[in-house]
C-alpha cells in the first residue's frame, strides 16, 4: 500500500473504514485530520466552537460517505479538503455550489497499486513544492484556499507543478471513457 513519508498509510486506513467499518482506523484518521480541519475552518473565519462542531461533521461525512473515496483518484487529504470546503460553504452561508455530474467509475475492488501510490504521494509532493515557493506566493495561495480572496482577486498562477496531476487524472478519465463505449 501507498505509505506517507511518516509511515502512515492513510489510504489503507480509509479503505478499512470503507470496506470493514473499522472504528480503530476511523479513530486514527480522526486524530490526524480533525485538528487540521478545525484549523482550516478557523483560518477561514469560523470561531473555535463552530470550527470544532464543523470538524466533527466533516469526520462524520468521511465515515458516512466512505464509499465515495477512491484511492486511485485522490489522496485522503484531498478528499478531506473537499468535504471541509463544502462544510465551510454551509456553515459560513457562502453561495451554493453545484457539483459536477458524478462519473460512473464502477466498482473497483482491486485498484491499480501504482495509481494508488501515485495519487497518495501527490499531496506530499505538492506540500514540498508549496514549502519551496517564495513566501509571498505561498501566502496568496493560502489566502485563496482559506476563502479570504474574492474570485476576481484570485491569481491562478500558483507556480506549483499541477500539470503532472492533471495529466494523471486525464489519463484515468480516458481509460474510463474507453471502458464505457
Amino acid at each position: 500500500m501507498a505509505q506517507a513519508e511518516d509511515g502512515t498509510d492513510w489510504a489503507g486506513l480509509m479503505l478499512r473504514v470503507r470496506d470493514c467499518q473499522d472504528r480503530a482506523a476511523f479513530a486514527a484518521l480522526f486524530r490526524h485530520f480533525a485538528p487540521r480541519v478545525k484549523a482550516f475552518l478557523m483560518k477561514s473565519g469560523a470561531g473555535a466552537a463552530l470550527a470544532e462542531e464543523c470538524a466533527q461533521d466533516v469526520m462524520a461525512v468521511l465515515w458516512q460517505k466512505a464509499h465515495l473515496f477512491d484511492p486511485a483518484r485522490a489522496s485522503v487529504a484531498t478528499w478531506v479538503f473537499t468535504i471541509a470546503r463544502n462544510k465551510r460553504i454551509d456553515a459560513l452561508r457562502k453561495d451554493r455550489r453545484a457539483e459536477p455530474e458524478e462519473l460512473d467509475w464502477g466498482p473497483e475492488p482491486e485498484p491499480d497499486q501504482a495509481e494508488v501510490m501515485e495519487a497518495q504521494q501527490e499531496t506530499e509532493r505538492l506540500g514540498r513544492a508549496l514549502a519551496a515557493l517564495p513566501e509571498k506566493q505561498r501566502a496568496l495561495i493560502e489566502r485563496a484556499f482559506f476563502g479570504e480572496l474574492s474570485h476576481s482577486e484570485i491569481a491562478a498562477e500558483t507556480g506549483l507543478p499541477l500539470g503532472t496531476i492533471k495529466s494523471r487524472i486525464r489519463l484515468a478519465l480516458e481509460k474510463l471513457r474507453q471502458q464505457m463505449t
Binding site: R18, A55, Q56, A77, T78, E142, G163, K166
Partner: protein, 214 residues
C-alpha cells in the same frame, strides 16, 4: 465534437476554493460535467487544498472529541454506492437539477425576435439564465459590466473571431464588444451567467448579417 473553449484557471481555482457566486458555480459545474480536460484541471486545484490541509498547523480538538465522534458513528449507517444520475437530455445533472428536468421543463419567456430566456433561481450576486436563440438570429445586444460566461448546450454561435459549439464556454469581460449570432442549422441553447445586472440596449434582436450564415 471536441471542446475547444475551456474555463480559465482563475475560475477553476475559485470554484475549487468555493468562492464563486452561485450562478457561476452552476456554469462551472455544468461545463466540468461535459469536459474531462477541465475535470482533470479542477482535480489538480483540489489537490492543492489537500496539500494545505496536510501542512496546516493543527488546532487541538476538545478533550472528549474523539469519544463523541465514535459515539456518533455508532448510530450512523454508511451510505452505499448508488449509480450516478444519468441524464438522457441535453442538460448535464447540475443544470437539470436547477431546471427541475430537461429542456421540456424550462419555462421560457419571449424577449423578442424569437429569442427566449429563462432566469434560473440563484443567489443575487450573479444571474444565471438559459437563452434560446433561433438559428441564424443574433444574440440580443446587451452590454454587461463584470464578467459573463456563456456555455453552449445545443447548436452553436459565432462572433467575429470564433465559433462556439456544444460544451464550449465563452468568457467575456466588459471590454468585449461583439455580435454573437446563432449559426444556421440548429437553434442555439446556452447557459449564461453574469455578475452584474444585464442592460439590454434594444429588445428586438437584429437579424443576422449574411456574413454569419455559415
Amino acid at each position: 465534437m471536441k471542446i475547444r473553449h475551456h474555463l480559465s484557471d482563475q475560475l477553476l481555482m475559485a470554484y475549487s476554493v468555493g468562492q464563486l457566486p452561485e450562478a457561476f458555480n452552476l456554469v462551472v459545474a455544468t461545463h466540468v460535467s461535459m469536459c474531462d480536460e477541465c475535470r482533470a484541471r479542477l482535480a489538480s486545484f483540489d489537490a492543492v487544498g489537500g496539500a494545505l490541509i496536510e501542512e496546516i498547523d493543527e488546532i487541538a480538538m476538545g478533550e472528549a472529541a474523539l469519544e463523541a465522534a465514535l459515539a456518533r458513528i455508532d448510530g450512523l449507517p454508511q451510505a452505499t454506492r448508488t449509480e450516478p444520475l444519468k441524464t438522457a437530455g441535453i442538460f448535464p445533472a447540475p443544470l437539470a437539477d436547477y431546471v427541475g428536468g430537461d429542456l421540456s421543463a424550462v419555462r421560457w419567456r419571449r424577449i423578442g425576435g424569437g429569442v427566449k430566456q429563462a432566469i434560473l433561481p440563484t443567489g443575487r450576486s450573479a444571474t444565471a439564465r438559459l437563452l434560446y436563440i433561433p438559428a441564424g438570429v443574433a444574440v440580443p445586444d446587451h452590454g454587461h459590466r463584470g464578467m459573463e460566461l456563456t456555455l453552449v448546450l445545443q447548436g452553436a454561435f459565432a462572433d467575429e473571431n470564433d465559433r462556439f459549439d456544444r460544451g464550449d464556454i465563452e468568457i467575456a469581460d466588459e471590454e468585449v464588444e461583439h455580435t454573437p449570432v446563432a449559426l444556421a442549422g440548429e437553434d442555439c441553447i446556452c447557459l449564461a451567467a453574469t455578475d452584474a445586472p444585464l442592460r439590454f440596449r434594444g429588445l428586438v434582436p437584429r437579424l443576422a448579417q449574411p456574413l454569419f450564415r455559415i
